[in-house]
Structure formats: structure tokens, C-alpha cells
């Protein structure tokens, strides 16, 4: 009896989802997909366009600090050589 029963189960009519609700779900899902696409587009943009002023100026002051450090070091060496009367 069980096999015809399973067949009979398979032949039961499908339930009809409410048309308005079906459309509502479709729209919600479309909106969700659109949001995700926008987000992935934004995250795939090259970082240059979104750099802040601080980020843009960073190379300038980093170079300045390096130059000052070099001058200081050179002066220390020159002073040391003077102490030992090597200059």
C-alpha cells in the first residue's frame, strides 16, 4: 500500500502563496540584492579617491622628520669628531 500512497502524496495539489505576499517578498529580496551590489561596488573602488587630508599629507611630514633626523645625526657625528680633535 505504501508505494501508491507515496505517489498519491506526490500528486497532492500545491499550496498557492498569496499573490501580494509573493510580490512583497520578491521586492524585498530585490532591494536586498541592490544594497549588496552597491556595497560591493563601493568596497571595490580604488582607495585613492577616499583618502583623507591626513593620509594625503603623511608622505610630506614623514620626509621632513627623516631629513631632520639625518641633520641631527650628522651634527652628532661632527661634534664627536670635534671632541676627539679629528677634524
Amino acid at each position: 500500500m505504501s508505494e501508491p500512497l507515496i505517489r498519491r502524496l506526490g500528486e497532492l495539489p500545491a499550496a498557492e502563496p498569496d499573490i501580494r505576499r509573493t510580490e512583497h517578498i520578491r521586492k524585498r529580496c530585490h532591494a536586498h540584492l541592490a544594497r549588496q551590489r552597491r556595497r560591493s561596488l563601493v568596497s571595490s573602488l580604488p582607495p585613492l579617491g577616499r583618502r583623507t587630508t591626513g593620509e594625503r599629507l603623511a608622505p610630506v611630514w614623514q620626509t621632513g622628520i627623516a631629513v631632520l633626523g639625518f641633520v641631527y645625526l650628522a651634527e652628532v657625528i661632527r661634534f664627536a669628531l670635534g671632541v676627539f680633535s679629528l677634524t
Binding site: 507515496i6 499550496a15 498557492e16 509573493t22 529580496c29 540584492l33
Partner: protein, 198 residues
């Protein structure tokens, strides 16, 4: 839906294409809703779980594996949502649903589905199915009504194929018993005129 089409759709879904979603929606909307309404036995619950299942798909669309099988994926989510719902509401397994509980359409409207379901044998099967334990009902629905492979159903239910075969065998027996009982002692319909012999 053949496998090639399915793989293409998965690829397009991963890109977030709305047209791909529409194709998947058209293919699985009704089977998924039918599964949920028969599993939950309540239209309002089925509608909520149905909506949540589709939202889960679009939320995870970008992270789907390229070889995802959409049918099993959707039915797994739907089934798990129903399990969570049952846990949260602590529904009684034994709470028998009458036909009104099974198909809680507004009684004022007669849908084409209701007209079709008026067939007596279908009514009896629906009634017997609704009174089965949830674990039996879900395997019968997944195998017989949703048309999934037994290996896919085993994955969906999180059990081994041999455990599924046992569960399915038991579910068939229960359904056959319930139908026999129903034939011998048909339920008295609410609002029906009193039996003349009483």
C-alpha cells in the same frame, strides 16, 4: 531545472543579479511554500518562514558555493527555520490539526486550491499527514511532495541515508495506519448535522 542552468543561476546569484533571483523564485516559490504549509500546518507560520527563507538566500547569495544545489539549500533553510520555530514555540507534537487548521484560508474566499483539495481522498491524506509526528511528516513531504533525492533529503534532515530509509519506512507505515483508521472512523465534521442513528 537542469544542473547546468542551476550552476549558471548560482553564479549569477553570487553576483547579486535580480533576474537570476527571479528565475530561482519562480522555480521554487510554490514547492517551498507547499512544503512549509504542510509541515507547519499553519498558513501564517508558513508565510513567515517562507519569507525568511528567501531573505536568507539573498543575504547569503554572495557567499554561495559555486556548486550549490539550490533546491536542497532552500529546503534545508526552510526546514531549519521550522525547527527553530517549533523550539521557540514549544509546539505540541500531538496537537492535531483539523482541515481548517491545515489550510487556514479565509472561509469567505474559495481558492482554486481549496476546490481541488475538496477531493475526498486528498482530504483524507492531508488529514492523515497533518496528524503525523513532524519528523515523519517532513521526510514524507521532502521525498514524495518536493521530489528531492533521498540522499539530498538525508542531508537536509542531517541524518545518514540508512537512518532516512528507516524514518521513511516508519512514516509510510504511520500514514497508512492513519488512513485506515480514518476510513473506519471518519472524523465528525464541525457543524455537520447530527447523525440520524443517534
Amino acid at each position: 531545472m537542469n544542473r547546468e542552468t542551476e550552476l549558471t543561476l548560482v553564479g549569477r546569484l553570487r553576483q547579486g543579479e535580480a533576474d537570476a533571483f527571479d528565475e530561482v523564485y519562480a522555480a521554487f516559490n510554490k514547492p517551498l511554500f507547499t512544503f512549509l504549509i504542510r509541515l507547519s500546518r499553519r498558513r501564517d507560520v508558513a508565510e513567515d518562514l517562507h519569507e525568511e527563507t528567501w531573505l536568507r538566500l539573498v543575504t547569503h547569495a554572495g557567499r554561495l558555493q559555486a556548486d550549490t544545489r539550490l533546491g536542497p539549500w532552500l529546503f534545508t533553510v526552510a526546514r531549519n527555520l521550522h525547527v527553530s520555530y517549533r523550539r521557540s514555540r514549544a509546539l505540541e507534537e500531538s496537537a492535531a490539526a483539523g482541515l481548517t487548521g491545515l489550510w487556514p484560508f479565509s472561509p469567505r474566499e474559495t481558492s482554486p486550491f481549496e476546490e481541488t483539495a475538496a477531493n475526498e481522498l486528498e482530504r483524507r491524506i492531508e488529514r492523515a499527514l497533518a496528524n503525523l509526528p513532524t519528523t515523519s511528516r517532513e521526510v514524507l513531504l521532502l521525498v514524495a511532495v518536493s521530489g528531492l533525492d533521498q540522499s539530498e533529503v538525508a542531508d537536509i534532515c542531517g541524518i545518514t541515508p540508512s537512518a532516512l530509509r528507516q524514518r521513511l519506512h516508519r512514516a509510510r507505515e504511520l500514514l497508512a495506519d492513519a488512513l485506515e483508521r480514518d476510513a473506519v472512523h471518519p472524523p465528525v465534521l464541525e457543524g455537520a448535522p447530527p447523525c440520524p442513528s443517534r
